[in-house]
């Protein structure tokens, strides 16, 4: 195996991208939903209680 350090690092990069992309695609969507819920306009009933927790 020639230059194992660079070979392993290259494989690790491809594995990182492949796995993180799927993981973040699933979890990130729920993060977006939660974030938008927190920032809902005032007419939304959820706005008042969540504002207290911002910052």
């Amino acid at each position: 195996m020639s230059h194992p350090f660079w070979l392993l690092l290259s494989i690790a990069c491809l594995v990182w991208y492949s796995t993180i992309t799927i993981y973040v695609a699933v979890k990130g969507a729920s993060d977006i939903v939660a974030m938008l819920k927190t920032l809902s306009p005032p007419e939304d009933a959820d706005r008042a209680p969540t504002l207290a927790g911002r910052g």
């Binding site: 491809l14 977006i32 927190t38 306009p41």
Partner: protein, 499 residues
């Protein structure tokens, strides 16, 4: 023969662009005030933070300079990425500086400086951040446009039109939705970009082969292609400068720090850093492999005709098949749009928050006016990008341009931040001296390099020793200035809010 097919690849790109624009525009109704616009109401959670940071910090310009490093330096060209990952992990694991920064509840780093060093230091910090940041970002649009023109085989005469269309698309959703639009589109862009990067890298490894890549590096660069310390163009000063540059970037680069400041709490901000750290290795390794593959397939003659920067897109235009080409262009568009939008927002937020701070203080602006000013600033930065991109001809190594322009503020801001958080004797004299030193050294180097009479002198010093000198002198200026004030200042009362 170029492989971009307008009906097939053009449709893939069109669907991606449409989805991004819709997502970016849909969230604009959630922007109620300036805080929502600049830091998304500080409601960002971990996974969105990872996607956003990874998407922002990988643009076409990143891909181009990392590929150029791979073409010119072999695998050793990925050294800056490894150093950046180590710095990112260290800061995330220890909370060094970012813990007190997030705990302070500020929107930008200069806002924190005001509490310790006074309003003047906040304003001066804002100015150097904006100057360094805009000069750094100034080449993004042209490089992005040139990549797309090269890969898709468009007539180079259309470069300005491609740049303008790219910018207008990004500016529309950034102006309307601010950080919220940036986060949501970053999420989509991260997914598209990652799919494209993995697919193209696997294709290259399949077509060129790992052994061929290694043999090419060995034949063209020898041991220096694998070990930065054995490379004549790199060596100890390159590694040392990039290590310090990486730490300073992680601590103070506004687009990175803005993710910490947008996080819902300090712990989330730190986790975004540790879990995104390995991405910074990928950021150099993957395009680096593309650059080495270009060297393997096109040879060193490719650099002679178009310059080493364009060897990688030229190689991709000839290698990537129709269908996958659409995914490549969509991925690179995603990378570029996420970077451009986040950078436009970052620098505009510093202008609004810090450079305009003294003017807002005399007569506070309403949220409505604040939002309007922020949106106008994003638009103005877009116009600047277009004009600078059209006017400035990039010469030489892209990564060196990026590091030198960034150092105009990174050296002083990192020294100020560390001193602000951990050195009780730091004061405004030291801060002003550090800002001046940090800006003067890189600018002096750029001027010495351009003037014929001093060009040889600048070349002998080199960008890495001059960069190291900037950090050393800035640190010394902070210490000497602060101690001088302690020794000679007649008024012992600290600025308002000093602790």
């Amino acid at each position: 023969m170029l492989n971009f097919s307008w009906p097939i690849d053009g449709s893939i790109v069109g669907v991606y662009l449409l989805a991004t624009m819709i997502a970016g525009l849909m969230v604009r109704k959630y922007v109620q005030n300036v805080d929502d616009f600049i830091v998304a109401g500080r409601a960002m959670d971990l996974h969105l933070g990872i996607a956003s940071l990874a998407a922002t910090e990988f643009g076409i310009v990143t891909c181009m300079y990392a590929a150029q490093n791979g073409y010119e330096k072999g695998f050793a060209g990925a050294t800056p990425g490894i150093l950046m990952a180590l710095a990112m992990f260290f800061v995330g694991a220890t909370g060094f500086c970012i813990e007190p920064l997030r705990a302070a509840g500020v929107s930008t780093i200069p806002e924190l400086f005001e509490r310790r060093f006074g309003l003047g230091v906040r304003w001066a910090s804002g100015v150097v951040i904006v100057v360094g940041g805009l000069l750094n970002m100034g080449v993004f649009l042209r490089i992005g446009g040139e990549f797309l023109v090269f890969v898709s085989g468009l007539n180079p005469d259309y470069l300005e039109i491609v740049m303008t269309v790219l910018l207008v698309g990004v500016a529309i959703y950034t102006i309307l939705g601010g950080m919220l639009s940036v986060l949501v589109t970053d999420y989509l862009q991260f997914i598209v970009m990652s799919m494209g990067l993995v697919a193209i890298t696997l294709l290259i490894l399949f077509k060129v082969g790992w052994s061929s890549l290694v043999e090419t590096v060995q034949a063209n660069h020898g041991a220096g292609g694998f070990n930065p310390f054995a490379n004549d163009a790199m060596g100890v000063p390159y590694v040392l400068f990039n290590a310090i540059f990486a730490l300073a970037t992680v601590l103070t680069w506004q687009t990175i720090v803005q993710r910490v400041l947008s996080a819902k709490d300090s712990a989330t901000g730190r986790r975004v850093f540790t879990r995104t750290s390995f991405f910074f290795v990928c950021r150099f390794i993957i395009p680096g492999i593309w650059g080495i593959a270009a060297l393997a397939m096109l040879g060193s003659e490719a650099a002679a005709s178009d310059g080493s920067l364009y060897a990688m897109p030229k190689f991709l235009s000839l290698t990537v098949p129709t269908g996958l080409m659409g995914l490549l262009v969509a991925a690179m568009l995603a990378a570029d749009m996420s970077t451009d939008s986040a950078y436009m927002l970052s620098w505009s937020s510093v202008i609004y928050n810090d450079v305009l701070a003294p003017f807002r203080r005399r007569r506070p602006w309403s949220e409505r006016v604040g939002l309007l000013v922020n949106r106008a600033l994003v638009g103005a930065i877009g116009i600047f990008l277009l004009l600078y991109g059209l006017w400035y001809p990039l010469k030489g190594d892209l990564w060196t341009y990026i590091t030198v322009t960034a150092s105009i503020y990174l050296s002083s801001m990192s020294v100020l931040l560390i001193a602000c958080c951990y050195w009780t004797k730091a004061n405004n004299w030291g801060a002003i001296a550090a800002i001046a030193c940090g800006a003067v050294v890189p600018i002096a180097y750029l001027i010495l390099e351009q003037v014929p009479a001093t060009h040889e002198f600048a070349r002998r010093i080199g960008p890495y020793w001059s960069g190291l000198a900037a950090y050393a002198l800035t640190g010394a200026a902070m210490v000497v200035g602060s101690l001088l004030k302690a020794a000679f200042a007649t008024d012992p009362s600290p600025p308002k809010g000093q602790t």
